[in-house]
Symmetry: C2
Subunit: 137 residues, 2 copies
Amino acid sequence: MQLSNTSKYTIRILAYMVNHKDKPLISAKELSENLNIPYKFLTKIMTELVSVGFIESIRGREGGYKFLKKASEITVSDILTLFNDSIKDEACILGIDFCDAKHKCALHDKWIKSKVQLQKMFRESTIESIAGEGSKI
Amino acid sequence: MQLSNTSKYTIRILAYMVNHKDKPLISAKELSENLNIPYKFLTKIMTELVSVGFIESIRGREGGYKFLKKASEITVSDILTLFNDSIKDEACILGIDFCDAKHKCALHDKWIKSKVQLQKMFRESTIESIAGEGSKI
DNA sequence: TTTAATTACTACTCTAAGGTAGAATTAACT
DNA sequence: AGTTAATTCTACCTTAGAGTAGTAATTAAA
Ligand code: SF4
Ligand code: SF4
């Protein structure tokens, strides 16, 4: 009942990048050290983020990563979708999903409420909004 | 972002047993066939449920399982705890958990709200309440 | 007393996520 | 031109959850 490590890492990585957008480029080394994410695993994630166009990479010495898409236009929901980690609309808390309005278990309505609330939260939370002052990302 | 198969199976198994409490004993075979849960995997779960005292088993021919603890006293939360699948109080949506009231990300308050709501739902949902008429468990 | 039906036990296999290793590629700096 | 610091590629290892296989133990029915 939680997000995958990959998703959580990604959110923290992108939030960190927002918080350091004064720098033109941020290296994998810096991200790995400051966010305490295994270097090799982080670079694997970064390559994926580049390939889907969230960020851009500059190779070679003095290289690094920077946003390609605006942080205000990348939502947590986008990230969860990317790593197949989002709460699907048809997701049933019990994994049955052949119930209908007339035949539903006692968990159904409460679950739907929580589900909708979480989905809304993920959709409305941009990386830009997660980062910022108080945040201890 | 969902429950483990083991937890989901268990909820359905116990709900089925409530819905068939007219029978003195219910066999693994019946459960497996009616709930579409792999037989061998189901018996593994059953043994665990017996060992923690939720149900009782009668071995040998004509044997099977029956409740030891009352279904109205077994909550979904108990099941999630058993399979280490519950939402821990300290669980942070981003897996950081060194944030405090003054340093929190934009997801924090919304996440806490959903978390509390889910935890409450799990605690207040007994197997007895999940099963029953309309239910398509 | 044998047989059939049942749970329990032990020990595997399979899969996907998470993580690691090493070498290839790129490009700025000296 | 050579060195160095960076990303990228390919391939592997590890772990936990899910699921399977075979057999032993138990007990009622035949
Ligand atoms: S009624 Fe219960 S089992 Fe059916 S879809 Fe809703 S939550 Fe799932
Ligand atoms: S502030 Fe954000 S990152 Fe920190 S504990 Fe709360 S949800 Fe997690």
